[in-house]
């Protein structure tokens, strides 16, 4: 049984790191890289080797409804692959960047706690356990946002922390209501229990969770922490936050809870649609006016999450394919974009687009990969973003929601506009840059090239034949809805 190792490995690494590396960061880097690599291999094995199977792991041997169980199905494995991949590239990117901030081994330790928290959320089958892992991840994320030690970083972390504690309270009340109604905490047993409850109660629980996890997702009225936090964090952490944290803690939980536990109640699907549409448009409108490159990227995270929410709200298989696929794609290109921003910041010493210029000669890797990432996020073929947006728009039209499809279309157009703005001012502007302040080192380049290649490779996932082994099992798990609880309970 490999499921618990997804939490054990990063957690052990997190606490081993400060023990083995006192002054030098070398061992810390090696240890974290090694453990993340192990996670990549494990999750890859879990996803490709045992795809379609639902594994249930009972902690200390206790059965449901008493014990805590870990559930690993295709959807969890998919998320695990995503988290580990982005974490690996983020760690490859980190060393030089963190050294520049005066970094020490604590960074890597916190990083591994973050990974452990996210993995925990993804593999757990228990509601309260999920809450705990979520808080672990949030705590690590808060500390990492403030890691640079500058004024605005503390500010962002503080605001994020206050808002996160509000949402934690909401989630806790939701858990309390769910527990009082069903006397259990396992997701599967709650799903069974809520079927017998009055629909009003289900709506209340849903509303509380929607608000609580909506904040982690950064859907539109709950988004205000995101641009601050994601733009203030060190670049590799921004990549982790925007790339996977909002998905592992937000989207994943929303899908899991509303589809597999509540069985996709229509009211919430409507809410998903509306939140998604609002997030797409307002997020991208806010983004296009930014001059700080990382803030611009952060607002785009809101807008792209909107696409995922919109696709989730369609309640069709095609829509869910779009949502899952876009989730992976967004993780890839958004992380890459944040690495680009980090590399630019290292090389030019500024994040303001107006102070940058034509660096395509001086920084060929950065500008090349950022072009690829920009085109991906704007939905230009042959990159991955095109295909997921295509699927989402087609799904929206086929689901009889052309209005929402049109919102997605307009959002895509504005996304393109704002990323061409980044290209024009940041990387290929008229003003040539003579001199670089810092050097973009091999690790950064490796991370960027890796993700740029992934931008192309992941577009293959939509090809029929490959899709059957990658995205389809994930979607199958989700679209089983409450039937999934039955499978878990029977194990």
């Amino acid at each position: 049984m490999i499921t618990p190792y997804f939490v054990i490995i990063p957690l052990a690494a997190a606490f081993l790191i400060p023990l083995v590396s006192k002054r030098k960061t070398g061992p810390a880097v090696l240890l974290s890289l090694a453990s993340t690599f192990a996670l990549v291999v494990l999750s890859g094995y879990a996803f490709f080797g045992r795809s379609g199977e639902t594994l249930v792991y009972r902690m200390s041997g206790w059965k449901l409804p008493v014990g805590i169980n870990l559930v690993q199905d295709a959807f969890s494995s998919f998320m695990l692959v995503m988290v580990s991949l982005i974490a690996l590239t983020s760690l490859v990117f980190s060393p030089r960047y963190i050294d520049r901030l005066g970094g020490d081994a604590k960074y890597y330790s916190l990083f591994m706690v973050l990974v452990a928290g996210m993995n925990g959320v993804v593999v757990t089958g228990d509601l309260f356990n999920l809450f705990v892992f979520m808080e672990i991840a949030i705590l690590a994320a808060l500390a990492l946002v403030a890691y640079g030690g500058r004024a605005h970083e503390f500010e962002a972390a503080f605001k994020y922390a206050v808002m996160a504690s509000v949402s934690a309270s909401l989630i806790l009340i939701g858990i309390a209501v769910a527990y009082s109604a069903t006397s259990s905490l396992g997701l599967a047993t709650i799903s069974r229990g809520l079927e017998r409850q009055s629909p009003i109660l289900v709506l209340w629980v849903g509303g509380l969770f929607m608000a609580g996890f909506g904040l982690k997702t950064a859907a539109m009225p709950f988004h205000a922490w995101l641009p601050d936090a994601h733009s203030s964090a060190p670049a590799p952490i921004s990549a982790m936050l925007s790339g996977v944290l909002i998905k592992a803690l937000g989207v994943y939980v929303l899908i899991r809870f509303f589809y597999n536990v509540l069985g996709a109640p229509p009211l919430f699907l409507q809410i998903f649609l509306v939140l998604g549409a609002v997030s797409i448009i307002l997020g991208v409108l806010l983004a296009i006016g930014q001059w700080d490159i990382k803030r611009l990227l952060a607002y785009h995270s809101i807008s792209q999450i909107g696409y995922i929410l919109l696709a989730m709200g369609l309640d069709t298989t095609l829509g869910m394919i779009g949502a899952v696929y876009h989730m992976l794609n967004h993780a890839v290109f958004k992380s890459l974009l944040f690495y680009n921003a980090g590399a630019l910041e290292t090389a030019l010493g500024t994040r303001d687009l107006r102070e940058m210029g034509n660096v395509s000669k001086l920084l060929p890797v950065t500008s090349g990969t950022s072009l690829i990432a920009s085109l991906s996020i704007s939905g230009v073929p042959p990159f991955n973003g095109f295909f997921s947006k295509l699927v989402i728009i087609i799904a929206a039209v086929q689901a009889g929601q052309p209005l929402f499809a049109f919102v997605a279309v307009v959002g895509s157009l504005l996304t393109l506009a704002s990323f061409l703005k980044v290209q024009k001012f940041g990387l290929r502007g008229g003003r040539p840059v003579e001199r670089l302040i810092g050097e973009v080192d091999g690790g950064m380049k490796t991370a960027m090239i890796l993700l740029a290649a992934l931008c192309l490779v992941t577009s293959l996932l939509i090809v029929p034949g490959i899709r059957e082994t990658t995205i389809d099992p994930v979607v199958k798990v989700i679209m089983e809805k409450t039937g999934h609880a039955q499978i878990v309970l029977e194990k």
């Binding site: 957690l11 052990a12 606490f15 400060p18 023990l19 200390s60 041997g61």
Partner: protein, 150 residues
């Protein structure tokens, strides 16, 4: 000006000296009886941390840090969760699942009973006590009057 000794008055110090070991004893008692009565690793750990906190308040930072080795404390704190994970893995190896019991369960209401819970409580107590103390210590290190305006 006479030079001010760090810490509080001699009364506090004396009382603290007398009471400290009792606090520790109480904390350890709670930790060890976690599986029998209310309490356990977390509660006991907090009491332990309060004991340390007393020293810190009474004698000041300098003395406390001399008295306790910060590095050792940190290492202990970091290794506590590792120990916890170790027990979990041992459960996997011998008990069949993560954190499963692999020790003898003993007799009900005896101190050495309930298998793996007792050692886990001890580990948790260690972790909580040290963590809390270190958190307070870290907060005490800040000097709001110092700092760089940005």
């Amino acid at each position: 000006m006479r030079d001010v000794k760090p810490g509080l008055t001699v009364i506090v110090k004396t009382v603290n000296r007398l009471i400290l070991w009792m606090i520790f004893l109480y904390g350890i008692y709670i930790i060890l009886h976690g599986h029998l009565s209310p309490g356990g690793g977390f509660g006991g750990g907090v009491v332990l941390a309060l004991g340390f906190l007393g020293v810190l308040l009474a004698y000041g930072r300098g003395f406390s840090l001399n008295w306790l080795r910060l590095g050792t404390l940190r290492d202990l704190e970091y290794s506590a969760p590792l120990l916890f994970l170790g027990f979990g893995l041992a459960g996997m190896a011998w008990g069949g699942a993560f954190l499963a019991n692999f020790l003898s369960k003993g007799k009900l209401f005896a101190l050495l009973s309930s298998g793996v819970i007792l050692p886990l409580n001890i580990v948790i107590g260690l972790k909580v006590g040290l963590s809390l103390f270190l958190v307070v210590l870290a907060l005490a290190e800040f000097d709001p009057s110092q700092g760089d305006d940005e």
